[in-house]
Subunit: 454 residues, 2 copies
């Protein structure tokens, strides 16, 4: 038997590592365990399932089982890791269909067990009408339940981008949706005015957003909260996520301060020959230098971040050298006709991290876009906020709310932040502005900041 | 009388400097001379006039004369600079309507005289049917001529992005258009295969592209070339541009090696108190360190580059401090259903600059896009090429051909190149990929390059 790599978990970080290790290490025997029926799905597409625009989970699976097996990746669906013996280089594995447990030796181990919704404490939290939709199986089961129970009143519990996008997706399906956010507002790491726009848009698509609503109890037909009773055929937990690390921890692999697996730049854990990536692992924030909890990667761009980390792990596992520098917590999400996005730090986050900062906001009305581009083109409403460090002008963060595709300007901001550029460099940057594609809101905001700093 | 700033020329770099100097220097008296009737137009919109989608040049003028005057900018339309006496701080100015010449003193002088089409040498080059469309006046006059002469056969002479976009715009108007390119192919600083796609698309929109066609002579009805005779009611020169610098040069202001005005990072010329920006000035290429001729800024993004330089000049003129780091020759252009864009160096340019380089190409078919994003979204065909230095992996250039908006990925590439990032950093970058907005072709190409380099 050759050298065996055991990949564990349904996070995209798993299959990305397996595929990369296969490419780089033709000599490796690769066994991949996934807890459900589908490998390597893109969790960002779960919204499509909830919305009803995707009919089958298999549409989200790429590459599929056949292609993985053709690559000589020994894919075992419906298998969970239940124990690790590092000294013996052996894993205890359970087939969740038959309930049978067996041992599997490994030389290298890659953990991509992801995150799961933190279980709620309130009475009724374990009722059959309370669901999660973090994995494809869960989302599929939940949408089946909606149909079978002929559910019309849904309650989503949570306040982050995942909860927001799930609530919007379900409302778009024509269901009556209440979103219960425990805090005073949404917790989406946007500045207050931008978060308020998101709340407004959420209400515009029909979501009954209730803030400051702590769940007290759930029964068959209702959710009882600190702010009154809400009818609920089904309840969806879309709040805090926690990393799935208990087996790894029991096996002696170290956790970091956030409770996720501690990894270095090569995605190596504390244990020799054991790697981790995706939601179960920590990531360094590029600006704060601090480790970020898995929450960072649990949002819409999480799967992509996990896949990038997984590829880095795969290269290193096969004997190469690659590093993952860190994240900016970039997120984009669409609610109704408005897209929202963020990267880097919000004003509150910059304060918390100790950055003295300034911000500028550039807006475009349709008429304003036409004037700015000089083309008389059709424009859409958009607002972009840029944050920079006072004195140095170093870029700290960007937030966008827009009727049009907004990834363009947000991603240029992410690149500039990752490269530690300042507002002057961004204002002078040789970017294409073809009017329709990339109205120069980003550079306008950079100019405003440069003006305010000099 | 206070301190007077004299701004000269119709390049967007002029009005941008005037407006910035006005904001920063309330004490300044600002006089702005423009050669035609319209200040500060966006030359990138000239395509709209040629295409017929814009009816009046005034649609391209922002801000207009009234707004400039309300800002206390003494705008004098139809005025040309004909002499500079640096010792006496005095300019000789001609009112081109009355032909009257007068003197105007200045404390600071900002030159934004732009570029003009290089006059052709062949017999008939001065005929009334031979036109240029570099300025709004010229483009307006040309489109009027098309209508009045009931022209149906047009010949465009040139081979760069300007010629290509003008030919495509005129063909879109329903005219019979021949594009005469002197060289073996288009000279658009794209790699051969990408340039070939541009040629193909140009033909698909009805442009009769003839390469290797040297013009020998022009008369009322025909263009005689090395490759045969082409019927031509009107001829449009859209080839090489040259900087408008003769008056500045006669006044003792130094030119650089490209024949444009030599400027430093602050946009200062060789003469004390004289600034220059836009097409009449040189710019440093961020990768080569070499000065680039005005040709760089004569293409579709030229006006935006000029405006950025102009703002830097305006800040410095008013006593502040700002710098312009350089350009990447970023260009985007649309021909028919395909958009083309480039930034940084092409393979040939990288060779010439002495970079040992590698490249990778990522493509997306509609099905491929859907698979890559996992959303089953509607995708469009796209191809992206990325160049990096061999050994270091430093990013050198990007080229895009795409059925969809392509500024998004191109601009992220431009930001990464400007920041001197390498392929590993780009591959790991925390970018939003919302499927429709920003399919991850850029990062796929970066991964391919990283794989080939390690």
């Amino acid at each position: 038997m050759g050298e065996r790599l055991l990949v564990v978990g349904g996070d995209p970080a798993g299959m990305a590592a397996a595929i990369q290790a296969r490419t780089d290490g033709p000599h490796l025997e690769i066994v991949a365990l996934v807890p459900g029926a589908w490998p390597g799905y893109d969790a960002g597409g779960i919204g499509g399932l909830l919305r009803g625009t995707l009919r089958s989970p298999s549409q989200l699976v790429a590459p599929g089982p056949d292609r993985l097996r053709a690559m000589r990746i020994d894919l075992r669906t419906d298998h969970r890791l239940v124990g690790i013996d590092l000294d013996r280089r052996s894993a205890e594995v359970r087939n969740v269909v038959h309930g049978r447990t067996f041992r599997l030796g490994f030389d290298s181990l890659h953990l991509a067990t992801g995150t799961r919704a933190r279980r709620a404490e309130w009475p009724g939290a374990d009722s059959p009408n309370v669901h999660t939709a973090g994995s494809l199986e869960e989302a599929d089961h939940f949408t089946t339940e909606i149909a079978e129970r002929k559910a019309s009143h849904l309650v989503v519990v949570g306040s982050g981008f995942r909860a927001v996008s799930m609530a919007a997706a379900l409302a778009q399906r024509g269901l009556s949706v209440t979103l219960l956010a425990r805090g005073e507002g949404l917790e989406v790491d946007l500045d207050d005015d931008m978060a308020a726009m998101l709340s407004k848009e959420l209400r515009a698509v029909g979501v009954d957003l209730r803030t400051g609503a702590e769940v007290a109890e759930v029964d068959d037909s209702s959710v009882y909260t600190s702010e009154g009773t809400v009818p609920a055929d089904l309840v969806l937990l879309a709040g805090e996520e926690e990393p799935v690390v208990s087996v790894a921890q029991a096996g002696g692999i170290a956790l970091g301060p956030t409770g996720a697996l501690k990894v270095d730049r090569q995605q190596r854990t504390s244990a020799e020959g054991v790697w981790a990536a995706g939601g179960c692992a920590e990531a360094t924030h590029l600006l704060c230098g601090e480790v970020a909890a898995q929450a960072v990667t649990a949002d819409s761009t999480g799967p992509a971040v996990g896949a990038r980390q997984g590829r880095v792990a795969g290269i290193n596992i096969a004997g190469g050298y690659a590093t993952f520098p860190g994240v900016l917590a970039t997120v984009v999400s669409r609610v109704g006709s408005l897209g929202f996005g963020r990267t880097g730090l919000s004003s509150v986050q910059a304060d918390l991290a100790g950055f003295a900062h300034v911000s500028a906001t550039a807006s475009a009305s349709p008429a304003g876009v036409a004037a700015a581009t000089g083309y008389g083109v059709e424009g859409n409403w958009a607002r972009l906020r840029l944050l920079a460090e006072r004195r140095t002008g170093a870029l700290l963060g960007a937030q966008v709310a827009s009727e049009r595709a907004m990834a363009s300007e947000l991603n240029v901001a992410a690149a500039a932040i990752a490269a530690h550029l300042d507002v002057e460099a961004l204002a002078a940057m040789d970017l294409a502005s073809s009017g329709v594609d990339a109205p120069p809101l980003l550079q306008e905001a950079a100019r405003q900041l440069f003006d305010s700093l000099r």
